[in-house]
């Protein structure tokens, strides 16, 4: 008997009740949200249950939604049941001022580097991680670059001709940017971090 999304949803709501919300299936993958205190319990349940058996962590990363107050950072887990070939997505939201989430490294060793990368890019503090330090950026970096408020380019460059790249300048092409304003292409993006769900 193959595992269906209804079975998964039924088992999870039996065990956790209303704590798990926002059940959706965008593009055919079951997605649900849970409170951040229960994330390890949900993952453990999905791992241990003999019928569910989600024992492979495909991916772990975060998304920054600056528009949603108190729930700006979402940590997203992609789990895979290799035997029945079923994938699900589990999201956990946390406040950006206190981004503490329990670490899944005790359960999945593959979460180690992935959580370090999430910490490096977004600043999510994983409680219980053995070695939560920056992994991809330089150790001296003091901000979290993937958050939406930070720009892509290196702001300390002096030799980049802003004029030619269409973001500022003095020739009057209408592309002046004000001091400390966002770079123009950032300005043009009309997504202001609205809730995607």
């Amino acid at each position: 008997m193959s595992l269906t999304y209804e079975t998964i949803q039924k088992k999870l709501t039996e065990k956790f009740g209303d704590a798990l919300t926002n059940w959706q299936q965008p593009y055919g993958m079951l997605t649900f949200t849970g409170p951040k205190d229960l994330n390890l319990k949900v993952l453990q349940f999905l791992y241990d249950d003999p019928e569910l058996k989600f024992q492979f962590l495909t991916d772990l990363q975060a998304v920054h939604y600056p528009g949603q107050k108190n729930e700006e950072l979402a940590v997203v887990y992609h789990l895979h049941n290799l035997v029945d070939n079923v994938r699900i997505r589990f999201k956990v939201f946390t406040d950006i001022n206190k981004p503490d989430v329990y670490s899944a490294t005790a359960l999945y060793r593959s979460a180690n580097f992935m959580e370090r990368e999430t910490y490096d890019f977004f600043g999510v503090n994983f409680i219980g991680h053995p070695n939560l330090i920056r992994i991809l950026n330089v150790d001296e970096m003091d901000y979290f670059p993937m958050r939406k408020e930070f720009p892509l380019e290196d702001q300390t460059r002096v030799d980049k001709d802003d004029e030619m790249f269409g973001r500022g300048g003095t020739m009057g092409f209408g592309t002046e940017k004000e001091e400390d304003g966002p770079t123009l292409t950032e300005d043009h993006k009309h997504n202001e971090g609205s809730k995607i769900l």
Binding site: L136, N137, V138, P145, L152, D154, D159
Partner: protein, 187 residues
């Protein structure tokens, strides 16, 4: 399976430098001879970080053989190499390492910057990529391309050979060179 013997008659021999030829001797200037010897036996250090490194492997393989130009022994130790070939993106984390390797090289040393990322940061205009290695070390020849074809890498190598052959023996001790090194903060 026997292969037929082939005699390659199309060899290009290096011309002897100008000088006075006599019966069993030749007098020329030391610079020319040293330049000739150096340019045809450059030992490169392939500092391959990313995609350009794979094109370098293709250049070193049998189809585009860079060993024909004298680069037979790829030295991986900076103390024993002449040419630092930087191939691939250098991030800010890697910058100090590259500088350290450059400082460990012994004079005379040349630098070949292969690929758009090493020349100027390439398509990666981001907070974490060094926008060109000439921000931290002096570069002699730049080879653009993303990745450059092996022919382009060999062309860059041949330009380095010209530079090496023409270089004056006193260049490394002169004032201009000291100024250049000073601009990079190197003693």
């Amino acid at each position: 399976m026997s292969r037929p013997v082939q005699y390659n008659a199309k060899l290009k021999t290096v011309e002897p430098p100008e000088g006075m030829m006599g019966d069993g001797f030749m007098a020329t200037s030391l610079e020319k001879v040293v330049g000739l010897a150096r340019q045809n036996s450059i030992w490169p250090l392939p500092f391959a970080t990313s995609c350009c490194g794979i094109e370098f492997m293709a250049t070193a393989a049998s189809h585009y053989d860079i060993a024909r130009f004298g680069a037979e022994r790829m030295s991986f130790s900076p103390r024993q190499c002449d040419l630092l070939m930087v191939m691939g993106t250098i991030s800010k984390k890697m910058g100090p390492v590259l500088r350290q390797v450059y400082l460990q090289m012994a004079e005379p040393r040349w630098v070949l910057s292969v690929g758009a990322c090493a020349c100027s940061g390439g398509i990666f205009d981001t907070y974490s990529v060094l926008q060109g290695i000439d921000q931290i070390i002096p570069v002699d020849v730049y080879v653009p391309g993303c990745p450059p074809r092996p022919e382009a890498i060999i062309d860059g190598f041949m330009k380095i050979q010209e530079l090496v052959g023409e270089e004056s023996l006193r260049r490394r001790n002169g004032e201009k060179y000291k100024e250049l090194m000073g601009a990079y903060g190197i003693q």
